[in-house]
Amino acid sequence: MVKGKKSSWLYAAISKSYVAKEWLPDTTVNEIDDPAFHAPIKEHDTETRPLSKHKKSCLFRASFVFLLLITIAAVTIWLCPVVIGFCQDRDYRTAVTAFENDDYYAAWKIFSNLENFNDSEQRAQSCIMPYPATSALYSDGGFFSTASENNCMVIFATLSTTEPVYFKIYYATDGTLASTYFVNVGTNLMVFLPEGNYIIKAATGSRWFGDEDMFGDEGRYATLTSSGSDSGYLTIQSYRTIAFGSDNLFVQEINREEF
């Protein structure tokens, strides 16, 4: 017999009366006759490892997630100016291209949004065109300045002391454009129009981008008709003055595309 065999697990385990619990009292021995042993395992419950290991695992995962978040935050902080700079540079180039293609209003909008990026502020200013002189910018019939028995003298003017007016004159009969006039502050323009019905449109604003974009979306656009008339046109039968803002004309606001 081996000395001390009564205290040996090996000897006890091969005996007829071995009971695991007597040797492992401090741990959970899942005896087959222990009711807790028969408790069903929850679906997807894979965690039956010792609590200390579980805690270590959770701690490790939490640390990993924390470090991951810190890394993402750091990269984001570092990357933000780079991305913003990239986007601004891309927009700047787009604006330059628009300017070179004479699309001054589009270029102005982009340069204005870029604010202090490069020379955007100066470039935005360069997109604004000087006001044309008070004159007809377009005429189809040659009746401008032509005085005759059938022509009526019309004075185009502005009542504003700060903003010029751009007029468009359409034939009411077929809606085709007859002429356009630009009238600066403090001036007026005298023209002779054949007697008839006309659709008169007027635009005003503080920045001029050319006769395509005119005063941009920031300008004000309207159709001028006789007060109380809903016909949409103005009848020219004799001399008259057409001033944007005068009380004897009805102003119907429209948008730039409708102008």
């Binding site: 081996v2 040996s8 697990w9 090996l10 385990a13 091969i14 492992l24 069903p40 997807h44």
Partner: protein, 265 residues
């Protein structure tokens, strides 16, 4: 049919089959994708299918698929746990389980001097030093200690998950001496899972439990067979039940290390 059931027509078998008491084992080209495992097919003998409760096998398979990747990979690295049921004409006829990894195969030296690739059944190591040398197996006490601790750790892992080995024997456990010695358990379908047995419990001759008044498959009986394996492994005697063959120092080491594993995992 369970969602983890596949048709017998969905895979082909290859190589020579291995005939066992409950069925025939075939190698297949089928694989488990995640975690990766090559699968072998066990087809139960027609005359024993009536004694099998396939709902228990289904529970075992569902348990595997309910595990997260890490736990499932660990389970399949220590044993041939059932992965899929196999049906034919609406009847379950077998199951797919992982093939023992290549590291559990070794070159057995034959009397002719040639070598033959053989699966490393642990019973080969329960022999005398002369026998081991003759068959080209190099095994020292340090490796024996690592192996027995590996068996104890696997047993503890299984017990923690309400799994009792029951028919524990040196034929059902494979060894690997490559790198860090370790073991791989076979015949998992005969284990007791959540106090239910898919296959009626049986015991391998010479590995019978001698505990009085207990069932055949319990934590106590598993411990007894673990102790028996330890004695036989260190004594180099596949039949002995006498712990005195080990000597005091070895007995003390086993007491200390195995109890430590059974306590803490």
């Amino acid at each position: 049919m369970s969602q983890y059931t596949i048709s017998r027509s969905q895979f082909v078998v290859k190589g020579n089959p291995i005939f066992g008491g409950q069925g025939t084992i075939h190698f297949t080209s089928r694989q488990l994708k995640s975690p990766f495992a090559e699968l072998v097919y066990k087809e139960y003998l027609p005359h024993i299918r009536g004694d099998l409760d396939f709902s228990i096998l289904e529970s075992m398979i569902s348990y595997l698929h309910s595990l997260n990747y890490h736990d499932a990979a660990h389970l399949l690295s220590i044993c041939a746990w059932p992965c899929f049921m196999v049906e034919e004409s609406g009847q379950v006829i077998g199951m797919l389980m992982p093939k023992a990894p290549d590291e559990f195969y070794f070159d057995l030296k034959l009397p002719s001097g040639k070598t033959k690739k053989k699966v490393g059944e642990l019973q080969l190591l329960l022999e005398t030093k002369e026998y081991l040398v003759k068959h080209g197996i190099s095994l020292n006490d340090s490796e024996r200690k690592t192996l027995i601790v590996s068996v104890a750790k696997t047993m503890k892992f299984l017990h923690n998950r309400q799994i009792i080995i029951g028919d524990f024997s040196s034929r059902n456990v494979l060894f690997s001496l490559l790198h860090n010695p370790k073991v791989f358990f076979l015949d998992c379908d005969s284990w007791k899972f959540r106090n239910m047995s898919f296959i009626p419990q049986a015991e391998t001759p010479d590995w019978e439990c001698t505990l009085s008044g207990t069932e055949t498959a319990t934590v106590n009986s598993d411990h007894q067979k673990l102790a028996l394996l330890a004695i036989r492994l260190f004594a180099g005697d596949a039949q002995t039940r006498d712990p005195s063959k080990l000597g005091v120092k070895m007995t003390q080491w086993l007491d200390r290390e195995i109890l430590k594993v059974l306590r803490d995992g």
